[in-house]
């Protein structure tokens, strides 16, 4: 009897294994090119997956162009989930009619929405994204924690970020902060808007918008805010290096870990969430020089811990 039972188990295991062996490409990671962050993210995701039992042979990593070639040549891949890293990969995968769920990562929200619009798709469990953008409440929380004396928060919005305004207003009110906002339609009005915002704010909250914040404008905005002795809270490490006082961002590794969780869920047979996924882990960066010149003493780690505690996270 026991022998019989053992044989059965073996057969089952084999078949399972066979099944498992058959389902080789379980995860396909398509990553865009252009930044080392993508690779970092992919690496950390793979690590996590590996630690959870997904063997490396189950994971296929492709570049966007390779993927495009595959799609064209109709060499079909039938994984359980596609992970797109970056806008390029996301656009590729979204325009290809795939029957498999696609998780888009390291993509700004606005970009993702635009891609979906152009592809004519709607976000859902088949196609979802782990946004790059930090939740606004977290950003405001940071402001509250880092700069408790700052009561007025200035934001400069452009056409891509204008939709955030209502939420910002409500969140700020909830936190007891006054929002000073300006919206600009063209780059010529940038300084005017900025000036208007800055003259009535204690802190400038940077909101990602290509019209407002780009390589051509960042320097001047930083300068202006610095001259106004108004610290800028930015959304990327690069901004802090450029001269912003504070930044709240997600490390690619953190994003990779988070994405791995969703991938595992899908591998277990669950679906992706159908709502936008915000990053749950983050980093805080402080530009000590700028902070000192502005008369602030900030400790990045302490701020992070505080924020995590506020979010009831370790």
């Amino acid at each position: 009897m026991r022998r019989y039972w053992r044989c059965l188990c073996w057969a089952l295991a084999l078949s399972l294994g066979g099944t498992a062996a058959q389902a080789q490409q379980r995860v396909v990671i398509v990553s865009s090119v252009g930044s080392a962050a993508y690779a970092t993210m992919a690496k950390s995701m793979v690590e996590v997956l590996a630690s959870r039992g997904v063997v490396s042979s189950d994971i296929v990593q492709l570049g966007a162009s390779q993927m495009a070639a595959r799609l064209q040549s109709a060499l079909s891949l039938q994984p359980l989930i596609f992970v797109a890293i970056g806008s390029e990969a996301t656009q590729l995968l979204s325009s290809a009619r795939l029957s498999v769920p696609v998780l888009s990562t390291l993509i700004p929200r606005r970009n993702f929405e635009r891609i979906l619009q152009s592809a004519g798709r709607v976000p859902g469990s088949q196609l979802n994204a782990l946004y790059l953008d930090q939740p606004l409440r977290r950003q405001l929380a940071l402001i509250h924690v880092a700069l408790p004396q700052a009561k007025r928060v200035g934001v400069l919005l452009g056409p891509d970020s204008a939709f955030e305004l209502p939420r910002l207003r409500s969140l700020a009110a909830a936190k007891g902060l006054t929002l000073r906002d300006a919206e600009i339609a063209s780059s010529d009005a940038l300084f005017a808007g900025l000036h208007r915002v800055l003259e009535d704010s204690d802190v400038l909250l940077a909101v990602a918008d290509p019209l407002v914040l780009n390589t051509l404008t960042i320097q001047n905005i930083l300068l202006t805010s610095f001259r106004g002795r108004i610290p800028m809270v930015a959304f990327s490490q690069a901004y802090v290096r450029a001269g912003a006082a504070l930044a709240l961002y997600s490390d690619p590794a953190q994003v990779g870990r988070q994405a791995a969780v969703y991938v595992l869920e899908v591998l277990r047979g669950n679906a992706l969430p159908d709502h936008a996924i915000e990053p749950d882990d983050f980093e805080v960066e402080v530009n000590q020089h700028v902070a000192r010149s502005l008369g602030l003493s900030l400790d990045a780690q302490a701020l992070r811990l505080t924020l995590r505690r506020l979010e009831n996270l370790p």
Binding site: A37, G86, S87, I107, N111, H195, T224, S236
Partner: protein, 653 residues
């Protein structure tokens, strides 16, 4: 001196021209390069200032901070050479400006940096666009955007105006410096060239002067120049060579002079010898002819006397032979006499117009018989021409020529003719013969003394060979060119060219040269003064044979004795040289004064001395030379007697 200027000029030119060219080229090239560099660095500096201002204005333009921009503009103005700064926004509106608006200018917005130059105001303007500086940030948000990268946005532009004043000034300074340096270099070069050239010029000058003086023959120049000799001078070798050459030239010249002197002396000696020999010859001739004269004279007279005496045919023939011999001898002696007189330059030329016909007539008379005897034809063509010449000499020439012609012709004849030379007023008196002719090689030699073409044995019946020599000399004396043309075996032609004159019918007619009548001399009393016995007796006998009465005297004293009794001779014939040392002229003169009348007189002499003839002429006396031809004497006597009765006097000697 012009030569020196040329050489010096050349030297200087050779030194200066390359210097000039090189220095000019160098200075100009370097200056141009430096000016170019300066301009470039100025431009670069200006551009960098504009860039700086543009950079500085970026934020001000972004933030439209006019005060900041104004500050920046002012700062820009403080830069070197900046005259005006303007900062213009994207719309072309000037946000800030600094500097004198008079220097300002505005240009349309242009994304490209531009510059320009206002020549009139000497201002450079630069515009620099101001772009929003891009800050590359490695931001995922940025990377994720699918919008095309934005073009650089021009925030505005800055305009700067610079003044060229400083640059121009520096350029002028550099030009001046360059010019000054090259000028100094040139001057230095010229000075050096002049100094060096002088060092070369001086020896050249000296040498040129030296050679000039040597060329003129001034050899002392050499010794003078030696004093200037210096060592270590340029052209030292040349100078010493020239001195050596000059020395040698001088020595050579002295040698030459010495040789010339010696040669001249030798020649002088030879000349003296020759002259002496000539004089000796003349002396000899004179002496010989004189010594021979007396006996020949006497001989002739005696023979004539003999002929007067009755004789038979045989004696007559003998007398004829004697006469012929005597004539020959007298002829020879005449020749010698002529020569010696020509040598003594005692022949006097008496040119006057006379008709040739007279001479030709006489010629016929004299030589017709000779021609006849030889069986030759003697044709003498008469002519109406009158010539300007000495008739006596001319006659002698003619006589000689025709005589020669007859001598040297065996058959045929002799022709004497006169032809005019058209257009010249001259006539050619020609003597043609059909004789043996004269070979071309002898045609010059025949005129030489004692030269006879075909007389190797010196046959004296053929003459002495003096005839043509005498003819030539007489023709030369008269100034009538004499030409000879001859063909061996065919004949000879002598031509004498005479000047014609118009016939002068008023001229005194020439007296007849000779007649045969002796009537006029009959019963004439002649006084003969001769110291030689033979000659005296011969002469007296002859005169008596002609019918004259003769008074003899040996000398002056005897003559005076003989006429003391009042006898008046009609004519006096006196020997010139009388042994009591009175000469014939004095005797005649004395006699004439004693007798109180200018009696016709003549002299007979063996002397060919020119002084004798001159004295005779001076005294107005005719002089006959021994040996005297009786016929001549007779003619003379007739003439003298005619003159006494008023006819002209002719010297027939």
């Amino acid at each position: 001196m012009r030569a020196f200027v040329d050489i010096r000029a050349r030297l200087l030119l050779a030194a200066l021209l390359p210097l000039l060219v090189v220095s000019t080229v160098l200075v100009s090239v370097l200056l141009l390069a430096r000016l170019d560099d300066m301009q470039q660095s100025y431009d670069q500096r200006n551009r960098s200032v504009a860039s700086q201002v543009a950079l500085a204005s970026e934020y001000g333009l972004f933030s439209v901070n006019q005060s900041q921009l104004q500050a920046i503009a002012q700062g820009g103005l403080r830069q070197a050479d900046v005259r005006w700064v303007a900062i213009v926004d994207g719309g072309g509106q000037m946000l800030a400006s600094a500097g004198d608006p008079g220097n300002g200018l505005l240009h349309p917005m242009n994304p490209l940096a531009t510059q320009g130059f206002d020549v009139k105001r000497r201002l450079d303007w630069f515009t620099q666009p101001v772009f929003a500086g891009s800050l590359e940030i490695d931001d995922l948000f940025e990377k994720n955007t699918l919008i095309e990268p934005k073009p650089r946005r021009q925030l505005g532009q800055v305009v700067l105006v610079f003044s060229r004043h400083a640059v121009d000034r520096r350029a002028h300074e550099m030009l001046l410096a360059g010019g000054l340096i090259s000028l100094l270099g040139l001057i230095f070069g010229m000075a050096l060239a002049i100094y060096l050239s002088r060092g070369v010029m001086r020896p050249i000058q000296r040498i040129t002067q030296l050679t000039e003086r040597i060329g003129r023959g001034d050899f002392e120049a050499v010794s003078q120049m030696r004093q200037h000799e210096l060592t270590r001078e340029p052209l030292q070798a040349l100078q010493s060579d020239i001195y050596r050459m000059a020395d040698r030239l001088s020595v050579a010249r002295e040698d030459l002079e010495q040789q010339v002197h010696l040669a001249t002396q030798a020649l002088l000696e030879k000349k003296n010898e020759a002259e002496n020999a000539n004089r000796a010859k003349s002396h000899f001739l004179a002496a010989a002819s004189h010594d021979l004269r007396q006996p020949t004279h006497a001989l002739g007279l005696f023979v004539s006397r003999l002929a007067q005496l009755p004789h038979d045919a045989q004696t007559g023939a003998l007398i004829d032979n004697l006469e012929a011999s005597v004539r020959a001898m007298q002829h020879l002696l005449d020749g010698l006499l002529d020569i010696s007189r020509l040598d003594a330059q005692a022949v006097q030329v008496n040119k006057r117009p006379f008709p040739l016909s007279v001479l030709l007539h006489q010629l016929t008379q004299d030589l017709a018989q000779v021609a006849q005897e030889k069986g030759l034809r003697l044709r003498i063509r008469q002519t109406d021409y009158w010539v300007m010449s000495d008739d006596t000499l001319l006659y002698r020439i003619l006589l000689n020529l025709v005589d020669n012609a007859l001598n040297y012709t065996e058959r045929g004849g002799v022709l004497v003719a006169v032809r005019p030379v058209y257009g010249t007023g001259l006539v050619r008196l020609q003597v043609w013969d059909s004789g043996i002719g004269i070979a071309p090689e002898h045609q010059t030699a025949v005129f030489a003394e004692f030269y006879q073409v075909a007389n190797p044995g010196r046959d004296r019946t053929k003459g002495l060979g003096l005839g043509l020599n005498i003819v030539q000399r007489k023709a030369a004396l008269l100034g009538h060119p004499l030409q000879l043309a001859s063909h061996l075996g065919r004949g000879t032609r002598f031509t004498l060219t005479l000047p014609t004159v118009a016939a002068d019918l008023d001229a005194p007619a020439l007296p007849a040269l000779e007649t045969t009548s002796s009537q006029e001399l009959f019963d004439v009393l002649a006084l003969v003064i001769e110291d030689d016995l033979l000659v005296r007796s011969a002469l007296c006998g002859l005169l008596q044979g002609w019918g004259l009465r003769v008074i003899e005297a040996r000398g002056l004293s005897e003559a005076l004795e003989k006429v003391a009794d009042g006898t008046m001779p009609d004519v006096i014939i006196s020997d010139y040289r009388l042994h009591d040392e009175h000469d014939g002229i004095a005797v005649i003169g004395r006699l004439r004064s004693e007798l109180g009348s200018s009696i016709a007189a003549c002299l007979v002499s063996g002397d060919t001395d020119a002084s004798v003839m001159r004295s005779a002429r001076a005294a107005g006396l005719t002089l006959l030379h021994k040996p005297v031809r009786p016929a001549k004497l007779r003619s003379l006597l007739r003439n003298l007697l005619q003159v006494q009765s008023g006819s002209s006097l002719v010297d027939l000697s």
